[in-house]
């Protein structure tokens, strides 16, 4: 399977990429790792007339410790996040989500920026990004703006990144909850995308949950924070019973995806189970 023909442009800086995007407008698509876009182009589900390859922009690569937050360039690969000591220690949920994506070869090539901008309802990162309370940095020809994770995922395949803009950086606060976070995944056995992915970041004091953030991937049309679980857990001593009660609030009042392999009912039930397990994992 070969993609439809397109014109290829290689950008060596963010400014050059933005200029090319402005010049070519709607005909152009940005190419990062290509591990969502190239398969879609091979199936002719995507037929962009022009591709602007940002994969070689060195300014969009790497992980930096900036004291109160970790700054992650949009082109940082899943493998780099999975294997980073800093991310493992300060944002475990993110490194666990990265390590749970696809397989080694996919993780070597795919980027966090591409995965977040693509906003596949079954993508792993979004739930983790929400639980970690990340901030996303977006650049357009008009300059730079930041968007909180809570406002980033706007719908099915939709994010706050507008036409002509690039996601450039992901900032993860280095707070106590993020250092005590996890991501648990129930993967579809063939595709390995999650049926359910649950990320939890929690602070505890003397065995009691003082604060908690819970994010889900793969469950709804877009990733979401689950305040039902959070409210039921906050202030409670963490135990099998309290985690089960809080986990049982998961997805309440929300619509949940169903597909050929998993019914809505089953996915909802698994969301509750994985919420409980994740709460217990970081709460003990």
């Amino acid at each position: 399977m070969i993609p439809a023909a397109f014109e290829y442009y290689r950008a060596s800086s963010v400014d050059e990429a933005l200029a090319l995007m402005q010049q070519h407008g709607e005909d152009a698509k940005v190419l990062a790792g290509g591990h969502s876009l190239v398969p879609a182009m091979k199936l002719r589900l995507a037929t962009p007339e022009k591709l602007i390859d940002i994969g070689g922009i060195s300014g969009l690569q790497g992980i930096q410790d900036r004291g109160d937050h970790i700054a992650i360039g949009a082109l940082t690969t899943h493998w780099q996040l999975e294997s980073s000591d800093l991310v493992q220690q300060k944002a475990s949920a993110l490194s666990q989500a990265a390590g749970a994506i696809g397989d080694v070869q996919v993780r070597n090539r795919g980027t966090i920026g591409g995965a977040l901008a693509h906003a596949d309802p079954a993508a792993d990162y979004p739930g983790a990004i929400l639980a970690l309370n990340a901030t996303l940095v977006i650049r357009g020809s008009g300059g730079e703006r930041t968007v909180a994770a809570s406002g980033f995922f706007t719908g099915l395949w939709e994010t706050a990144v507008q036409d002509g803009e690039l996601l450039t950086e992901i900032r993860i606060p280095t707070d106590a909850a993020n250092a005590n976070s996890c991501y648990l995944k129930f993967p579809q056995p063939a595709s390995r995308y999650p049926y359910v992915g649950c990320a939890v970041a929690m602070t505890t004091s003397g065995g009691t949950c003082s604060d908690v953030r819970v994010g889900f991937s793969g469950v709804g049309e877009s990733a979401f924070r689950d305040s039902g679980v959070e409210n039921a857990m906050r202030g409670q001593a963490v135990s099998e019973a309290s985690a089960k009660f809080a986990g049982d609030q998961a997805t309440n009042g929300r619509s949940v995806l169903s597909d050929w392999s998993v019914s809505e009912e089953y996915r909802r039930a698994m969301a509750k189970v994985f919420a409980k397990r994740a709460l217990l994992q970081v709460g003990r």
Binding site: I2, P3, D103, V104
Partner: protein, 152 residues
């Protein structure tokens, strides 16, 4: 578009259509047919090669994305007529039957041993999750990688 890449130590400059997949370029333009195409949908790992030190699925990359890259394919592993220890391991432990998945398995195993020279059984299986074999049942592949780890 013009692309230049170093493949198994030799530099190649070619004019390719921008939509050319890397695996097509290797097989059809550079005649390196050791890299196989199984699923053509990023799932089976038969097309695995190493680009700039990282194992990737060459059916899911465009040749133009690899301009300037350093590439190793299965043809580049042996040196001076001596098989690479991973190749030797697959022979020694019967890690293949039909052999279709083998080039990809070996390149993915190369990546594993590069990052983790003494992997456990479980670590080998985890590292080869992106590579499918329809013949062996995987057990002998795991033994082959263990053999390579012990003999390299």
């Amino acid at each position: 578009m013009q692309v230049t890449m170093t493949v198994n130590g030799a530099s190649f400059t070619s004019d390719v259509e921008s939509r050319t997949l890397l695996v097509q370029h290797l097989r059809d333009n550079l005649n390196l047919t050791g890299t196989h195409v199984g699923c053509d949908t990023s799932s089976c790992g038969a097309c695995t090669i190493v680009v700039n030190g990282e194992a990737v699925k060459s059916c899911t990359l465009l040749a133009v994305q690899c301009n300037g890259a350093e590439i190793t394919t299965i043809e580049g592993l042996a040196s001076n007529n001596a098989l690479h220890p991973i190749q030797e391991g697959f022979r020694e432990k019967h890690g293949l039957q039909c052999g279709f998945c083998t080039p990809g398995m070996i390149m993915a195993s190369w990546q594993l041993l590069e990052r983790n020279p003494n992997p456990s059984d479980g670590e080998i299986r985890h590292a080869l999750e992106g590579n499918f074999c329809r013949c062996t049942g995987y057990d002998n592949i795991v033994k082959a990688v263990q053999w390579a780890a012990q003999n390299s």
